[in-house]
């Protein structure tokens, strides 16, 4: 256990030394300050007034609904912002440990290769989790303080954002092990994220295809690729108290994808010569 903690702590230290940790927090703080500024200028009241809803009237339900809708859209913004920043911040942390002269020393220790890679993975995840907690919790406090409407469901953005980042981190690890390229480790997860948004439109797109084969291929891709878009959408719907929201399908399919990719990364890492 102390070995895995040492590896997690080392990843954490490296993230701090490379300014990735502080950079993430600085950008998150910037977003929090921007948000604080927006609510300070009473945009909420302005928006309520614009919608023709009187806060002092009996139509309190509408104000609540408006705030909950705001919560849902803010959660989406944080989900996208947090995921993209986290992928950028993590891209170099796997290739850096594979540098000749560093990896050979790590491999000379009585530590299995799977443990080495998982320590790095978990360290990365910890850095991003802390940042997500800070970012989402701060925004939640500001929204709650300003509107006096506290929606605990908004905090769902933390586990969901961390989860989807963990899935994309599996891709970062695989690409890092395969190519040792930080740039490629960013490009592939971003491409997957964009692809997931396109594939999610399958109900519309498959109607455009002539052949059954094309429709099946599109559907297959939809099920294989992690559902970054669907998961964000499901999170928004849950915050909106939408009972039709299906969170579990995107969760289990994405988790399966992440597990398969991480298993592949571990397999390749165990087989590789350094």
């Amino acid at each position: 256990m102390s070995v895995i903690w040492a590896l997690i702590a080392d990843t954490f230290q490296e993230a701090r030394a490379r300014w990735l940790f502080w950079g993430l927090f600085a950008l998150s703080t910037l977003l929090v300050l921007l948000f604080l500024l927006i609510v300070q200028v009473d945009v909420t009241a302005g928006a309520i007034s614009f919608m023709g809803v009187d806060a002092t009237s009996r139509r309190v339900y509408n104000i609540e609904k408006f705030v909950i809708v705001s919560y849902s859209w803010v959660s989406i913004a944080l989900y996208i912002w947090g995921t993209f920043l986290a992928v950028f911040a993590s891209s170099g942390l796997i290739p850096s440990v594979l540098e000749a002269g560093r990896i050979s020393l790590l491999l000379s220790k009585p530590v299995g290769r799977t443990t080495l890679l998982m320590g790095r993975f978990l360290g990365n995840l910890l850095v991003v989790t802390l940042n997500h907690i800070y970012l989402v919790y701060s925004i939640w406090l500001i929204l709650g303080w300003k509107t006096h409407i506290w929606s605990p469901r908004f905090l769902l953005a933390i586990p969901i954002s961390v989860f989807i980042f963990a899935v994309l981190l599996c891709v970062v690890v695989l690409i890092g092990v395969l190519s040792e390229s930080a740039a490629l480790s960013v490009m592939v997860p971003i491409a997957i994220t964009l692809l997931s948004a396109v594939l999610a439109q399958r109900q519309f797109v498959i109607r455009l295809f002539d052949s059954e084969w094309s429709r099946q291929l599109w559907t297959a891709f939809y099920w294989i690729i992690p559902k970054v878009y669907d998961l964000g959408n499901a999170m928004r719907q849950i915050i909106l108290f939408d009972r039709q929201a299906d969170l579990w399908t995107p969760v289990w399919t994405s988790a399966l994808f992440g597990a398969a990719v991480l298993t592949g990364a571990v397999y390749l890492f165990r087989k590789r010569d350094f």
């Binding site: 000749a100 050979s104 020393l105 000379s108 009585p110």
Partner: protein, 312 residues
């Protein structure tokens, strides 16, 4: 299972295959080697001989294509086998964001040392390598020699039974080399096996008990240094030696060595043969220029082992 040997390899082989062209490079070929526990062992060879690949196979950083490597009776593939190993790689890249203390603490924890033990040993080993006072300084401020000494402390901190050093003094100035040698000399008599991969013959000759020389991925020569260097003899140099006398000397089995014009230099293994050669030269009216007792140097052995066709 404990073994009398720190390292045992049997038919060890590594073939690198290029991913797309299918080209094969045999880096190490059928290498069988036994390093007794407690000795100081040097591994020599020209660049590209396969030394580093061999060391990496011992540490399981490179997977053998065939054969096996065993450390103290345990298969080198198992992480547990490396619990007794300390390693200092060539061209190491220690994380520069760590301090001297942090670096030793990190690698010691990976070696399985608990927190209490690390707290005690880290300052002790910083002191051992002369870096007392540098514990809180980040590694990016360290010189090459200091990093090398810190690397040595990292390799020694968990009290390994086998120390593997890959070019330990490479790029280090003479003072730094001396400091590293002094640290290594302190290991004499402690039962620690030291395995040095180096291209510096003098370093191996002065420090090691045993040597192995690799050439083109194979073992060209191996043995106790004192035995290998004992195979000397007598060297006789003479001038104006007529051809019939030279033929007579050749019939004695003497080896003719390169010499100046009009001079003849011959090597014979025994004193009696040296006297016989001198008698022939004197009888032919030629002049003895010098008679010297010669010993093999490690350099002679190295050149012979790495250039002769038989060694390949």
């Amino acid at each position: 299972m404990m073994s009398d040997y720190a390292i045992e390899t049997s038919g060890l082989e590594k073939i690198y295959r290029s991913r797309f062209r299918g080209r094969e490079i045999k880096a190490v070929s059928n290498l069988t080697l036994r390093v007794p526990a407690g000795v100081k062992y040097g591994l020599l060879g020209p660049n590209g001989a396969g030394k580093t690949t061999f060391v990496k196979m011992l540490l399981s950083a490179v997977r053998p294509t065939a054969g096996s490597a065993v450390l103290f009776g345990q298969d080198a593939v198992r992480p547990e086998s490396r619990r007794a190993v300390g390693y200092l790689p060539e061209n190491h890249r220690f994380p520069t964001y760590l301090t001297g203390y942090g670096m030793l603490n990190f690698y010691a924890s990976l070696s399985g040392m608990d927190a209490t033990e690390r707290k005690r040993r880290v300052p002790e080993f910083l002191d051992l390598v002369g870096l007392n006072g540098w514990g809180e300084v980040r590694l990016k401020k360290f010189s090459k020699g200091m990093l090398q000494r810190l690397g040595l402390a990292q390799a020694l901190i968990h009290k390994p039974k086998l120390l593997i050093l890959d070019e330990p003094t490479d790029g280090v100035d003479p003072v730094g080399r001396r400091a590293i040698r002094d640290i290594l000399n302190q290991l004499t008599g402690t039962g620690v096996t030291v395995f040095i991969n180096s291209h510096l013959l003098s370093e191996v000759e002065t420090f090691c008990d045993y040597v192995a020389i690799m050439r083109k991925g194979q073992l060209a020569l191996e043995g106790k240094i004192s035995n290998l260097l004992a195979g000397g003899g007598y060297r006789v140099t003479a001038s104006s030696v007529p051809d019939p006398a030279q033929a007579q000397i050749r019939r004695l089995g003497a080896t003719f060595l390169p010499a100046d014009r009009n001079a003849v230099a011959v090597q014979v293994p025994t004193r009696d043969e040296a006297n016989a050669v001198i008698d022939i030269i004197r009888a032919a009216g030629a002049f003895i220029e010098s008679v010297t007792v010669s010993t093999n140097s490690l350099e002679d052995l190295f050149i012979h082992a790495t250039t002769s066709e038989q060694a390949a």
